[in-house]
């Protein structure tokens, strides 16, 4: 029996302070401000109100990627409810814990939101439908098999009697859920696959949407923080007396052993007082670390004898030695900051018996674990309220460093809620950066220009070693080989090479790494797709024709490549002065390809005119949202390719804000044409994969335009004047 118990209802309503936090999309405050008891749930995923409103529960975080709407579509498809009556709400991590993780995994990264939960959320919707129909049949004393549900209305077919979901929801919630819950055949889907508008737009247009940074609780104070600018350094001392009389300052506190925070009435007061605070750092062992010095370490790794193989077949070294001709190139990809528009922030309230945190997070459960650890209280005495995210891109998922800080500060002011907001400068210099790597590629070609051998040596940083070191076994980080794996449904290589070796020499700098939208697919696709382009040109073959020869056994990879090429008119003349470049890869369970069109002026000024992108995600829940993800991923991927670089000097990140870390602007944005070609039979992610083909397609088009081969990113450091 699934009952909405008094205990869980109370947990859902939260404390009185939760009153200002709304989780009902379009109805800020409704979930917590609701004074009357909520009607019982049909099951964990579905609540139906007496007036037929449908509330679908979503636990993956919505950070702009549209997963909230897509997941609701999946539930609603099987529920057979009226889509116009659907809204959503978010159970808390504490509720999930209390109910034995009935909602499963909260983690929202790796483009997993829909593909990893599609099965059980559809079953949740189908189960609720079966229970609603059964409740109606019980009331009418007829077999459920004689009843049909559609559009939130249940009809008894022989008599035409009708009732609505709202009328039977209470009874349905008391039934034992059925054991067998068949799901619809994809050919019968009515809502899945439809480009419905997002459910969460309205409040984003009026300023009503509450992001973590906007939260206000009664009696709340504000905090600004500075962590030691040198990674691994410590806080030595600070002179709190020097700022004690500044307006609004309440307290200056050491946070952990490396940071100091000022707590004040307003954040502006806290921030300006912190700027005036004399601080002495112990910069520690990394005080002289630099990107330039680490580049030498990476370079040495390219030829190091010790490396971990990720994908190999045949004997690449022997075949290279015997090849009629070899081609070699070295590529490099820099550190980058996520630069979410909303900087890291969390509000925490700590008492000796309870700790609550309000924060934008991609993983509510991980935020709860961080809260528990930092507060010194068991998880059952903690709660995390997920607040809307102003971007995530991986920064707000694996490591909740800002949550730990907020809790540590709140512990110094028991009972008082404290909102910690990072300045942009703090955010830029204390990120969890896209890993830095280099790659040496060496190809063996026969006399006819066929690829006979390929050795791809990646040297550089492991994300897992920095974030989840327990997942690194025998020096092997499997995520490093994203898009280069021999096989598998996640991220396999699209080429067959008779003799292949792809290996990794792990080299970790002092800069902390993180999962950054696209993760390792970003640089791996640049390395492989640009080098394949190099080989095509070196052997005077058309880059599409050259790839085709290697892709016969990879029909899904090839299909998206052909579609992107055809969509852009590959093989037909481009407009005067415009040149094309291709790239394809597979990652996050989806097959993607792009064809970019660029021109480069005689002065070396680049213009990206158009990118045609093809995606096969197996099933596409909402084509419009997929198109938005493709467009958005290109902004992220092209920002990286054109501008993105964080450099280390004297142990600290040199960039501090958008003036020193430029990103793509509207005027630089090309036209994007999305070809969505779901081939069915599998579920791939769509938030990330296309990011990885934007950069190599553009770089290959630049080569076609100029003869300049860009092997080191970002592009802004390179000259594009014709070679």
């Amino acid at each position: 029996m699934l009952h909405h118990t008094e205990v869980s209802r109370r947990a859902f309503l939260g404390g009185s302070a939760g009153l200002v936090v709304g989780f009902h999309v379009g109805q800020p405050g409704a979930a917590f401000a609701q004074a009357s008891p909520l009607p019982p749930e049909v099951n964990a995923w579905v609540v139906i109100r007496p007036d037929d409103r449908v509330i679908i529960r979503i636990v993956r975080s919505e950070m702009g990627q549209g997963t909230l709407t897509g997941l609701a579509q999946l539930v609603a498809e099987e529920l057979e409810c009226d889509w116009a009556k659907v809204s959503t709400e978010q159970p808390t991590p504490g509720q999930n814990l209390a109910r034995n993780r009935i909602w499963g995994n909260f983690s929202t990264g790796g483009s997993r939101g829909i593909r990893e939960s599609q099965d059980y959320v559809r079953k949740g919707g189908a189960t609720a439908r079966l229970m609603l129909v059964q409740a109606a049949a019980d009331e009418w004393k007829v077999p459920a098999s004689e009843c049909r549900a559609a559009n939130s209305v249940i009809t008894h077919l022989p008599t035409g009697r009708r009732t609505t979901y709202g009328k039977v929801a209470d009874a349905a919630g008391r039934l034992t859920p059925p054991a067998e819950v068949p799901l619809k055949d994809p050919k019968d889907w009515k809502l899945i696959g439809q480009p419905v508008l997002r459910l969460d737009t309205k409040d984003k247009l009026t300023g009503a949407q509450v992001y973590g940074m906007d939260l206000k609780l009664p009696g709340m104070l504000n905090a600004a923080i500075k962590d030691c600018p040198v990674f691994g350094g410590k806080l030595k001392s600070f002179d709190a007396a020097a700022i004690a009389r500044r307006p609004g300052v309440k307290k200056v506190v050491a946070v952990g052993d490396s940071a100091v925070a000022v707590v004040a009435d307003t954040w502006w007061h806290a921030k300006t007082a912190l700027d005036a605070l004399p601080i002495v750092w112990d910069e520690g062992a990394n005080a002289t670390a630099s990107s330039a010095a680490f580049a030498a370490v990476l370079k040495a790794g390219l030829d190091a004898p010790e490396a971990v193989a990720g994908n190999s077949n045949g004997d690449a070294r022997a075949a290279l030695a015997a090849a009629a001709r070899t081609v070699e190139a070295v590529y490099a990809y820099p550190h980058q900051n996520h630069a979410t528009m909303e900087t890291m922030n969390a509000t925490a309230r700590w008492t000796p018996t309870r700790c609550e945190v309000w924060t934008p997070t991609q993983n509510g459960e991980a935020a709860l674990a961080a809260t528990s650890e930092a507060s010194g209280l068991p998880a059952a005495q903690c709660e995390v309220y997920k607040i809307n995210l102003g971007g995530g891109f991986g920064r707000r998922g694996a490591v909740h460093d800002w949550v730990r800080q907020a809790v540590a500060i709140a512990k110094e002011l028991p009972g008082t809620p404290v909102k910690l907001i990072w300045s942009r400068e703090e955010d830029m210099q204390h990120g969890r950066y896209h890993p830095v790597t280099m790659c040496k590629l060496k190809a063996g070609l026969d006399a006819q220009g066929n690829l006979t051998a390929l050795h791809m040596r990646i040297s550089g940083q492991s994300i897992l070693a920095g974030v989840f070191p327990q997942n690194v076994r025998d020096g092997r980080d499997p995520v490093v080989f994203q898009g280069l794996n021999a096989s598998g449904p996640e991220a396999s290589i699209g080429y067959s090479v008779p003799n292949l070796l792809i290996d990794h020499a792990m080299r970790n700098p002092s800069v902390p790494p993180g999962f950054w939208r696209g993760v390792n697919l970003n640089q791996n696709a640049v390395y492989l797709e640009c080098f394949i382009d190099e080989l095509a040109h070196a052997t005077k073959q058309d880059p599409l024709a050259f790839r085709r020869k290697l892709m016969a056994k990879h029909p899904k990879h090839l299909a998206v490549l052909e579609a992107a090429a055809k969509g852009a008119g590959w093989g037909t003349p481009a407009p005067a002065g415009v040149y094309r470049g291709l790239a394809q890869t597979m990652g996050f369970g989806s097959y993607v390809a792009a064809c970019a069109e660029v021109s480069v002026s005689p002065e070396g000024e680049l213009k990206i005119h158009r990118i045609v992108a093809a995606t096969d995600p197996g099933h596409a829940v909402n084509p419009q949202q997929v198109a938005m993800q493709v467009e958005g991923s290109f902004v992220y991927g092209l920002s990286a390719a054109l501008f993105g670089e964080c450099t280390l000097k004297n142990g600290r990140i040199e960039q501090s804000n958008f003036d020193s870390y430029p990103v793509m602007l509207l005027k630089q944005m090309p036209k994007v044409e999305t070809i969505l070609m779901p081939s069915g039979g599998f579920w791939g992610g769509v938030g990330e994969p296309t990011i990885a083909v934007a950069a190599p397609a553009v770089l290959n088009a630049i080569f076609a335009a100029t003869g300049v081969r860009i092997r080191q990113l970002p592009l802004q450091q390179q000259s594009l004047k014709k070679a």
Partner: protein, 150 residues
């Protein structure tokens, strides 16, 4: 005590003269629709209208303002989300995370007020707000749709 005219109403509050308008709006007046993104007038998340012009409020200290200036924030752009830009944004599903969109919408509304039929070049020049989710193409389409329906 300071006074500003915000969204058609006189607002009286206390803040130091060097406090940026952004933080007055957010902290003294509770108008959190205007966002902090960079603090150095680079990203445009804090864009508001001052006497009809799009201004980055993080770089405007209180001391530079007077009570006669008409300040409009996203909360005051329309009473019910019915400004042509807001309607076009809704129809085209422009926002993703939405954090930059208050500023984006205010910049677009100011552009359309000055140039009811903006060209692509006008849009390129006026819309220098940063969006990390990548809504730029829909922002452009939204401005054109709002222009066609104004």
């Amino acid at each position: 005590m300071a006074t500003l005219q915000v969204n058609g109403k006189p607002m009286v509050f206390e803040a130091e003269p060097d406090t940026p308008l952004l933080w007055v709006l957010r902290e003294q007046l509770g108008l959190t629709g205007t966002k902090y993104g960079c603090g150095i007038a680079q990203c445009g998340s804090c864009t508001v209208h001052i006497d009809g012009a799009a201004v980055r409020s993080c770089a405007v200290p209180l001391a530079a303002l007077n009570p006669n200036q008409k300040i409009v924030t996203i909360e005051g752009l329309s009473a019910d989300g019915s400004h042509p830009v807001q309607k076009a944004w809704a129809a085209l599903d422009v926002p993703q995370c939405g954090f930059c969109q208050s500023g984006m919408i205010m910049a677009a509304a100011a552009l359309l007020a000055a140039k009811p039929r903006p060209t692509d070049a006008d849009i390129d020049a006026a819309m220098s707000n940063i969006c990390r989710c990548g809504t730029y193409n829909r922002v452009r389409a939204g401005i054109k749709q709002a222009a066609s329906q104004a």
